[in-house]
Structures are given as structure tokens and as C-alpha cells.
């Protein structure tokens, strides 16, 4: 074994970095290699958003306007109701008709009364029931000879930008940035700490700033995929609009990625085990999954909760993404959301630096 050893070590020592570039470059390369060699991580970052978009796109694809099922025991009423194509009319004996309503198979029961009036039975908390009631009444009144005093015509609006898929794609993009960033950073850092690799790196001249920056830069690179894939897929497959400037979208996503990276660093700043960091990450992100309006608008939550919900970084990101993509908002118009994300970035990063366990 001794033959392979140079006689004096100074002969093998070359000044400089041996052509390897700045340590930050090597650290970022390590991040990328570790990520790319983890099939699960790649799945979550790239394929999961596509699958979710496809699934939701299929579930909420644009169907023709809903036909509402109604029932009646009178053949006269039935023929009047059939004049409206939006009603699917069943004619049954009174008892059977009542059963159909109570079992929820129809949304409206139209009963004739002995005095010639009509009784509508329906659940007024169900929008379909209310709609069916209005349509049924109009059909019956018209059949009885009512003329509408004001002439009208319908123009149907079903354009891109107002569908559910248009609403949900920005939500999924925001959710993807948050989830991937928190898990990616949290696992990577805590795994290094568990392996005592952070401590080993601290025993070299590596700078702490380079170490933390390498995680942020790595997330920036994954961001291109994280945002590009679901947005690109939404645009190509569903015609989801991107009405704002592309540069504005880049700025928004970069700021959001930095804010969630800082939050990820904070979650990972002390934990020594994967279980420990998982708990913290869930604690941080589950409220946002629920409250921040990924799948439905967060305005449905009570007014009292709104200031809290607005202050969450995911709410800020998703609101800004929707405003940008669907309504073409520019950066100055997104100032409140950008401010919220910036504040999370500064506070979380400062805390993470203070708390970080470098061993």
C-alpha cells in the first residue's frame, strides 16, 4: 500500500480549489444530486401536481348546465313542467313521489291541491331545490297563460378564467411551492444533522452562509419545475389563462419560495430526528392547507378569522397567483401579498439563523 503514497505531502498539494469552483457551487451541486437521486422527491415535485391537476380537471370539467330532477303526482302539472328542458320530470303516485323527495333522488316535489293551487315541497337550503322551484313555478305559470311583461334573451358566459380549473390551478401551484419547500428543506437538513454531517462540515472551513444559501439556491432551481409544470400543464391541457406579465410571476414565486425556505429552515433549525421535524412541518402547514383557499375561496371562513387568514403566507401567495393569472394583476397591485411574504421571509430567516443547531 505504501507504493501509492507520495514521498512528501507538499508535492501533492496544489494551491487554489483544484478547479472545483466556489464552495457554494459544490454545495448546490450536492443539493441537486441528492434531490435528483431521490425518486420520491422528484415524484412529489413534478408528477404529483400533474396528477392532481388532471384529477381535479376531470372532476370539475365543464358540463352542460345541470338538469334538475323533480317529481309530481299530477299529469297536467307534469306536462307543464316538461316545457322547461332544465327539469327532468317524473310522474308518480303521491306516496311514491314523497318517498323520492325524502330520499334525495329529486330536489322538488310539485303537489296539486284540491283548490287548484300548487304546493312546492323542497329544501330551501339546497340551491338546486331553490332553482328547481323557480323553474317549475315559471313553467306552470306560463302553461296557465302568464305572459312575461319584459322581453329578454340569454347570453351564456363560459370563458377561460372563470371556471373551477382556473381557480384551482393557482391554488395547487401555491400548495406545491409550500409543501415541497418545507419537506424538501426540512428532511435534507435534519437528515444531515442526524448523520452528524452538519457537524463534520462545520469542522471544515465551509462558511455557514454558503451552507444555508445552497439550500435556497437549490429550491430556486426546483421552483422552475414546481411552477412551470403545473402552470404549463394547466395552460396547455385546460387553457388556464396567465394574464399577468411572466416576469411578475417569476418575482412572486421567487419571493414565495424564499419565504417558505426560511420557514423550512426554521422548522429544521433544532430538530434532531425526522419525526421531530415532520411534526413541526405539519403544524406549520396543515392550517394553511385548510384556511388559505387552495380548493375553495378562503372568504367562506368567518369575518373574525379573516385577518389571521390574510396574514398566512400561503393565503398571500395563492391570492397573488390568482390575481396575477386570472385578472392580470401587476406587481404594484400585489404589494400587500408581497409584503406579507417578505415579512415571513425576514422573521423566519432571522429566527432560523439564531436558533440553528450547527451540529
Amino acid at each position: 500500500m505504501s507504493e501509492s503514497l507520495p514521498q512528501t505531502r507538499r508535492q501533492t498539494s496544489t494551491p487554489g480549489r483544484a478547479g472545483l469552483g466556489h464552495p457554494l457551487l459544490q454545495l448546490v451541486l450536492v443539493r441537486i444530486r441528492e434531490f435528483a437521486r431521490e425518486p420520491e422527491a422528484v415524484f412529489w415535485a413534478i408528477f404529483f401536481p400533474i396528477l392532481l391537476t388532471v384529477g381535479l380537471g376531470v372532476a370539475f370539467r365543464n358540463r352542460p348546465a345541470e338538469v334538475l330532477p323533480v317529481v309530481t303526482s299530477s299529469s297536467t302539472l307534469a306536462s307543464a313542467l316538461r316545457q322547461d328542458p332544465a327539469l327532468d320530470v317524473t310522474e308518480l303516485a303521491a306516496d311514491a313521489a314523497a318517498d323520492l323527495l325524502s330520499s334525495g333522488k329529486v330536489v322538488l316535489l310539485v303537489e296539486p291541491s284540491a283548490d287548484g293551487s300548487v304546493v312546492y315541497r323542497y329544501d330551501d337550503t339546497n340551491p338546486e331545490g331553490r332553482t328547481a322551484r323557480l323553474l317549475a313555478d315559471r313553467a306552470i305559470q306560463r302553461a296557465a297563460g302568464r305572459a312575461d311583461p319584459v322581453p329578454f334573451s340569454d347570453r351564456l358566459v363560459r370563458e377561460a378564467g372563470s371556471r373551477y380549473i382556473d381557480f384551482v390551478v393557482p391554488g395547487l401551484v401555491g400548495l406545491g411551492i409550500m409543501s415541497n419547500t418545507l419537506w424538501g428543506l426540512g428532511f435534507s437538513i435534519v437528515d444531515s444533522r442526524r448523520r452528524k454531517l452538519i457537524k463534520r462540515l462545520m469542522a471544515t472551513p465551509m462558511s455557514r452562509t454558503d451552507y444555508l444559501l445552497s439550500h435556497l439556491f437549490w429550491r430556486m432551481m426546483v421552483l422552475v419545475v414546481e411552477v412551470g409544470v403545473p402552470v404549463g400543464f394547466g395552460v396547455l391541457a385546460f387553457g388556464v389563462p396567465v394574464r399577468g406579465r411572466l416576469l411578475d410571476l417569476v418575482v412572486l414565486c421567487v419571493l414565495a419560495s424564499l419565504a417558505f425556505s426560511a420557514m423550512g429552515l426554521l422548522c429544521a433549525s433544532r430538530a434532531r430526528t425526522i419525526e421531530g421535524v415532520s411534526g413541526l412541518i405539519n403544524l406549520a402547514q396543515v392550517p394553511m392547507w385548510i384556511l388559505s383557499g387552495v380548493f375553495f375561496t378562503s372568504e367562506r371562513f368567518p369575518d373574525a378569522a379573516q385577518p389571521f387568514i390574510r396574514a398566512l403566507p400561503l393565503t398571500a401567495l395563492i391570492d397573488a397567483l390568482r390575481a396575477h393569472m386570472l385578472w392580470g394583476a401587476s406587481l404594484p397591485q400585489l404589494a400587500p401579498q408581497l409584503g406579507t411574504l417578505g415579512a415571513w421571509l425576514v422573521v423566519c430567516f432571522a429566527l432560523a439563523l439564531k436558533l440553528f443547531r450547527w451540529r
Partner: protein, 258 residues
């Protein structure tokens, strides 16, 4: 070797460190001379690793002075890091990186030193150059860890239990490497609880127990001292004492365990 001819690579005075209630290091003095291989011996929990990590600037001492290569951690940390080679106990390098990628990373932190290819040749991992760390055997991983400590062409090497957990063949390979480093003029501080290892590799040793140094000198001196005292050997065999006998005689752990 006289004190006048040699300079100190490491000087430690009255070092103390406690963790909560436990006193890990209880007033230690050490001197490692430039160019020697110094062994810090002791049973598990004696305070070896804490002592070494303080010398490596990874742990803050409660009291005492540490002078590494004539410098102090408080004022010269950045310069010191460039000149030290450190191998920690139990570091698991990233499984998903290859041997050369791992060394590229470590080499990039240093302003001088051999190329990753040269270090790979040195620890004889050429065939594993592009193998992922996860596929390496225990001995190969340990040689990679040694390679990582050598990329900065260090003046002083800290090796914390470099052969723990290795099979006899892998251990001998690591010993050969350490002997080569020593011959190349590096100063080495290693910890071990294998007396055979210390006897073979170290010019001088200090034996620690309960956070204190309880004996110091060259392995030969310690063995001669024991022979002079006429203490009984651990096994009834007609042979001369070994460092193992010195160790057991001083720390008494075999008796304590019984």
C-alpha cells in the same frame, strides 16, 4: 526527542467541560509535538471525544486554554480550519453522493491541498471513484472519511476512533494509512480504545479516565513502569506486559465490571 528541538502542534492547559451534571473533562493538560502521533486512550465515556472536539473548535470549553498550531480558536478560527484535518466519530457521509463527488465538496472548502483524484489514490479507492457512498463497505467508508480529512493538506490531523467497528483487515488498512501520514510528516492526534492500535501507531499516549489524564508517556515507558511495579498481568501467561495490561491496571475496568 527533546523539547528544545520540537515545537508544539497542540497545547492544552487545565481544560474543563461539563454537560449539565456530568463532568466530561476535569482539568486536562496535553501537549502534542509537531510530527508525532499522539494517542488519547481511555474507556468509553472517559472524555476523549469531548477533549478532541474542544481541540477541534467544535465544542466550547468551560475553562482552560487551547493552542492549536500556535493559534487560538477565538481569534483565528478561519485560518485554523484551513490547516486542520478532522475525522469525527460516527459521521455518515451522504449515501447518494459518489466517492469523487464527496471529495469534490470537501476539497472545495480548502485553499490548498491535493486534488480529489490524488486523495482517492492515496486511500486506494480508485475502483470506487464513481460508486455511491451507500455501496461502500465499512472499511471503504472509513477510508473515504480519512480522505475527506486529508483534502486540505493538513498540518495537524484529528482522528477520533478511526478504526472502531472495522474488521481486522480493514483496521490494518487504516493503520497502514495512518503510518503513511505520520511518515509524511503530519502531526496526528488519535483517540482509540484499542491498545494494540495505540502501541503500534503512537509515539506517545495519554490515558484518560473520568475526565482526567491518569498516565502519560510513550507506550514503552508505560509498559516498563508497569513491569517495575510488578503488578499482575491480566491473564496467566508467560509473556511481557502489553499496553493493554497498563490500561487495565490503571482504569481497572475489568475488575469494576465483575
Amino acid at each position: 526527542m527533546s523539547e528544545i528541538e520540537t515545537t508544539s502542534a497542540l497545547r492544552v492547559r487545565n481544560l474543563r467541560k461539563s454537560f449539565q451534571e456530568v463532568i466530561a473533562v476535569d482539568g486536562i493538560d496535553l501537549e502534542v509535538r509537531a510530527g508525532e502521533c499522539f494517542g488519547l486512550l481511555g474507556p468509553n465515556g472517559a472524555g476523549k471525544t469531548t477533549t478532541v472536539e474542544i481541540c477541534e473548535g467544535l465544542t466550547e470549553p468551560d475553562a482552560g486554554e487551547v493552542e492549536v498550531l500556535g493559534r487560538r480558536w477565538a481569534s483565528d478560527a478561519d485560518a485554523l480550519r484551513q490547516r486542520l484535518g478532522i475525522q469525527l466519530q460516527e459521521t455518515q457521509l451522504s449515501d447518494k453522493l459518489t466517492v469523487v463527488e464527496t471529495l469534490n465538496l470537501f476539497r472545495s472548502f480548502f485553499g490548498q491541498g491535493p486534488t480529489p483524484g490524488e486523495v482517492i489514490a492515496l486511500v486506494q479507492l480508485e475502483e470506487k471513484r464513481h460508486a455511491k457512498v451507500v455501496t461502500l463497505s465499512g472499511g471503504q467508508k472509513q477510508r473515504l472519511a480519512l480522505a475527506c480529512s486529508l483534502v486540505g493538506d493538513p498540518d495537524l490531523l484529528f482522528l477520533d476512533e478511526p478504526t472502531t467497528g472495522l474488521d481486522p483487515q480493514a483496521r490494518r488498512q487504516v493503520w497502514d494509512l495512518i503510518e503513511e501520514f505520520r511518515r509524511a510528516g503530519r502531526t496526528i492526534l488519535l483517540t482509540t480504545h484499542y491498545m494494540e492500535e495505540a502501541e503500534r501507531l503512537c509515539d506517545r499516549v495519554a490515558i484518560m479516565d473520568h475526565g482526567r489524564v491518569i498516565a502519560r508517556g510513550s507506550p514503552r515507558e508505560l509498559i516498563e513502569d508497569l513491569d517495575r511495579q510488578g503488578k499482575p498481568l491480566t491473564e496467566l501467561r508467560a509473556r511481557t506486559a502489553t499496553l493493554e495490561d497498563v490500561f487495565v491496571s490503571l482504569t481497572g475496568h475489568h475488575l469494576r465490571d465483575e
